[in-house]
Amino acid sequence: MKIKRLALALGFFVLPFILRGLWFYRGVYFPGGKESSPDFSEFTVIQPPLSTVPVFSVSTNGEGKRILFDQAHNNKYTIAEIESLRGQLLHQGAEITELRPKANLPDMLRKADAFVIITPTDFFTETELRAIESFVKRGGRLLVIADPTRSNSESDKQREESVILANEILEPFRISFRNDYVYSLVNNEGNYRNVLIEPVGSHPLTKNISNLVFYAAHSVTALNNVMLAGDETSLSSLDDQGSTLPVAAMDDSGNVLAIGDMTFMTTPYYQVADNFQLIVNISEFLLDHDRSRTLEDFPNLFTRPVGIRLGEGISLTKELLSAIADLKDVLAVNGLPLAIIETEQKGLDQIIIGIYPPNDEMRVFTNAMGLDFGVGQLIPTPTPTPKETLATSEISTISTPYNNLEFTIPGFGKVPSKGFGFLLLYEEPDQVNLIILADSQKNAIHLLKLLVTGSLEICLADDFIAVCQQDAVLSPTISEEPTLELLEEFPLDESLNGVEDSSTPTPTLTPPTETPTPTLNP
């Protein structure tokens, strides 16, 4: 009985527990045995694929070569950052110069063999763009590097501008950067924007390269000559599309190289993969060519001491000496001495000044250039008015037979001899020859002055021939008398002793006392 009561008591004692428990709890929570967090120990820092220790290769490939680095357009880099490229160039014997703000780019390009533009953020002027295009046409090498991480990043517009202005430079060469960055979520080097790059085809620029890493790179659009591209997983940030996106390309001439990243040249990234080999190849691209010098390169078209020769009909007057003295100063800037010589001398570049017709020595060069000054066609002249008759008859008495001829110059068409002079550049392996040819001594001096003062823009010129309207800008006062003071100052070649005696021009080649107003071929 007691047991029954105890059981009953116990039951009623437990009942509230059961009821409360059932009121609140309808089951038991089981967390399950599934893995709930990653195994953090499996994550480690992946080290980059280091190349063998880069060592600058020493050679003399670059001796005498000048590489101009743009620092005048608010460029977002320092020379120290690209020490890998700079060091390689220096070890090849090249000379590195910097284009500083306010420097004259066309002038600097005349002295340069290659021009390197890295991450500019200020626009180039029209004059500068033309100078760059002309530089490349003359065989100069151009390297343009843009980088998405090296721009004015304060606004989208400014970031875009850095691409736009780089593309302005590249526009004539049919290459452009896209305003993006290349990335790969799958196959990258430590970060999605550190993309793996592979060479495209076989080219000296990609010699000995199998893998590269670029660190945030613009993709490049080019019709042909893609040099480097991302792998098939590479995408453009513009549209998340892509696959094997180009990041470096050349123009058709092989003189222009555009690369979408500069970080690969900086420390420590140049040590990754084959990046340093690419730097070596880029330095060879910048050095391994001989740029043909053109008239536009004056005074840098000379590389040796210069001798100046006076042709028949040219006498050493005060005016001419003055012009030669100015020329001497200009050449001295490049460390080149100038001397007056009588005959061609080995080891010297030479300037020959003469008047029509070219003498035999000059004709060697004019013939080699395909110019025939010996055969001209008489320009039909209109019947002079009575007022003009006197002047014309006066001139005719002192004019050469060439005064009323016209010459057919390849690339220029028909050019009248009257009122026009020529600057001719003829380069031989061991000598640069510059010929100044005019219809009179006065105009020959005038041409020399145009050359010395860098005023050839008033001439119609191609790379090797300039046709200049004589006496158009400068009006030198001709003094037929040599000045002793100038003669003493100027280091005349001994062979020219007695030049005063021979200064009297032959009658037929004496310049007219009044230069007729130049007229274009009617």
Binding site: F12, L15, P16, K34, F43, L185, Y192, P268
Partner: protein
């Protein structure tokens, strides 16, 4: 007669001692069975050291109090430091061994905030909330300089590692984040992990399609889900932040200020972050 008296007496005594008293005693003592509680933990600011510490305390409170049968994590945060994010994530995972955790996204669960939500059994979100932004941001320290007056015993004593290593550490952290997504979402994930790594932030409705969250709904539904998973009814909802003795540490500014004194989207302190910047002015990539 006597027998009847005895039976009546017996019945009265039985009623009192075997029924009423045990019943009353049982009723009184059954209160040791606590009313279950669903705890709310709110994260509505960037995760930094102060916030992280406070959240961890709330989680530990829930773990140590058996009346707390489930936790609902209410999120409206862009994430924060990697360290504090991981502390919360690991603490929540520990809590899940004892009770269910459900996340309710209210507005934003980005980067580090989404990371901590991965330690929950189910993720609810209001439809217009933003979810995702999986990834890491960080800033490489400045180029080391040497000072005449200051010495250290090794090239990386000051900075800890070469600058480039920071980039690789960021990638390592990204990989662990992605692994947490894989582990946390499991088969529910319908988007490729490669696409997740793009760092996009999705509207909740889209995130639902990708399996980044489980359901669109309200906070009440999230609480009901927590209760359902915990198998409890007639529960009480409690704000755990009010149950924790919070040391009142002074809140320091998380974000930096620009030269005009305006708050930027960027953290004041250098370091690594699971953080959604939402920099519409243009800045870091």
């Amino acid at each position: 007669m006597k027998s009847e008296e005895n039976r009546t007496l017996f019945d009265a005594r039985t009623l009192i001692f075997s029924i009423l008293i045990p019943l009353i005693a049982g009723f009184l003592l059954s209160s040791v069975i606590p009313q279950p509680k669903i705890g709310l933990i709110e994260i509505k600011e960037p995760l930094d050291n102060r916030v992280g510490k406070f959240i961890v305390e709330q989680i530990q409170y829930a773990y140590n109090h058996r009346d707390i049968q489930g936790v609902v994590l209410v999120l409206d945060s862009p994430g924060g430091t990697i360290n504090d994010t991981e502390l919360i994530y690991l603490e929540l995972n520990h809590l899940r061994t004892k009770m269910p955790v459900v996340t309710m996204v209210q507005g934003l669960s980005a980067s580090g905030a989404y990371y901590v939500s991965l330690a929950s059994d189910s993720i609810f979100s209001n439809p217009s909330a933003l979810v995702g932004n999986v990834g890491v941001i960080g800033q490489i320290p400045p180029v080391p300089i040497l000072l005449e007056e200051v010495y250290s015993t090794g090239p990386y004593k000051f900075w800890g590692s070469p600058r480039d290593t920071y980039v690789r550490q960021i990638d390592m952290m990204k990989r662990s984040f992605l692994k947490a997504v894989e582990v946390g979402r499991g088969d529910r994930l319908t988007i490729s992990i490669e696409k997740v790594s793009r760092g996009e932030v999705y509207p909740a409705s889209e995130a639902l399609g990708y399996g980044l969250i489980d359901r669109l709904g309200s906070q009440s539904e999230a609480i009901q889900e927590a209760a359902r998973l915990a198998h409890v009814a007639n529960y009480q909802v409690v704000d755990l932040s009010k149950l924790v003795d919070q040391e009142q540490s002074e809140a320091s500014a998380f974000y930096s200020q620009d030269e005009n004194g305006e708050i930027t989207g960027y953290p004041k302190e250098p370091g690594f972050y699971y953080l959604y910047i939402a920099d519409f002015k243009g800045g870091l990539q």
